[in-house]
Symmetry: C2
Subunit: 191 residues, 2 copies
DNA sequence: ACCTGAACACCGTTCAAGT
DNA sequence: ACCTGAACACCGTTCAAGT
């Protein structure tokens, strides 16, 4: 483990504990066993350190999406699994989810590039599912955006407690993903 | 305008300009024409000031939802308009959207209460739309959650630039809301 | 090349007073 | 009741040195 890796690991742990404000360069340095401004020798500023954390997390997401552990899985089943993985990851690591898709990261060209690759893979999967009749025909980019937006919104509302507003939230984020895919499956078969 | 109102207005303006970090109590005080810690006589801390901003915004959202300007509008048309208003509000005031539904607000009991009222109204609308056959039958809470999660996710991805990953995003947040309602409408009529 | 310690500006918050 | 000014602790960032 290089010092750089130690710094990223410490920043990730602090992020999980209390969000970006908890990630102080002083505490990151302390946990990595260096001085409070040693991070500046590896990252231009705090923002760059958080970007490194976000990129590391994006790489994990992409690995899940491009891996196909179930041999010969149908596109629809694979799409379902990928989207369920996505909402489970978000619920398991809510602060990483907030970081990766949050405000501060929309200026990072590096992150934008990785997001593009993940997105293209999702569009491919969607197109295959359409061809199999598991989704309605039409622009695969648009159909993929629909599925992704639902999963993203369900994960975000679930994390912030807005899915269970009355204290009796009857639908989990995973339920909503399944509901959407079921409705889209009906529409795909009936057309 | 009381001093308190001036403080909330200044905080709202600063939030729009650069997010919560930009909202410093010193600058809020300066814009309201008071000292840098006069805000402490009206709010217990910065968090409480931001909560006041969030609550003000939630009240506006609720007013849009409970108002029915189009007389005798059908439930489905009204639901469509409410959800389109929601994504337009989010795109117009991205930092307010991030504040209201973001991390820091999930501990505010007052905000939670207001969210509950808005949510119940949406469930009512959904139930009416289901009765009219514009949405598939089933638990209205769950159907409402599906619509809301899609709108929320589409708005969030649109704001952070993730809907147009390839530089040629073919679906706007509004498009996705319409797509979902169309598919749900088909499923409602065919059952 | 990588790291340290002092220093600076800025911010949230507290406190002792003022009217 | 409402406000002010000084003060404290903390943080991001910079700089002059050290090996």
């Amino acid at each position: 483990m290089s010092t750089r890796d130690d710094l990223v690991a410490a920043a990730t742990a602090l992020l999980d504990e209390g969000g970006p404000e908890r990630v102080t360069l002083r505490e990151v340095g302390r946990r990595a066993g260096v001085s409070h401004n040693a991070p500046y020798k590896h990252f231009t500023d705090k923002q760059a350190l958080l970007e490194a954390v976000a990129i590391q997390e994006f790489d994990r997401l992409e690995r899940v999406m491009t891996a196909t552990p179930t041999p010969r899985a149908e596109a629809a089943a694979l799409l379902r699994r990928v989207m369920l993985d996505y909402v489970r990851w978000a619920q398991r690591h809510p602060r990483r989810f907030a970081l990766v898709y949050g405000w501060s990261m929309n200026a990072s060209a590096d992150l934008h590039e990785r997001a593009g690759a993940t997105w293209r893979r999702l569009v491919e999967l969607t197109a295959e599912a359409q061809a199999a009749g598991a989704l309605p025909a039409g622009d695969p980019e648009r159909a993929a955006a629909l599925v992704r937006a639902l999963a993203h919104g369900a994960a975000d509302l679930s994390i912030t407690g807005h899915l269970a507003a009355d204290g009796k939230g009857r639908a989990s984020a995973e339920d909503l993903v399944e509901d959407l895919l079921r409705v889209l499956g009906q529409a795909g078969r009936s057309s």
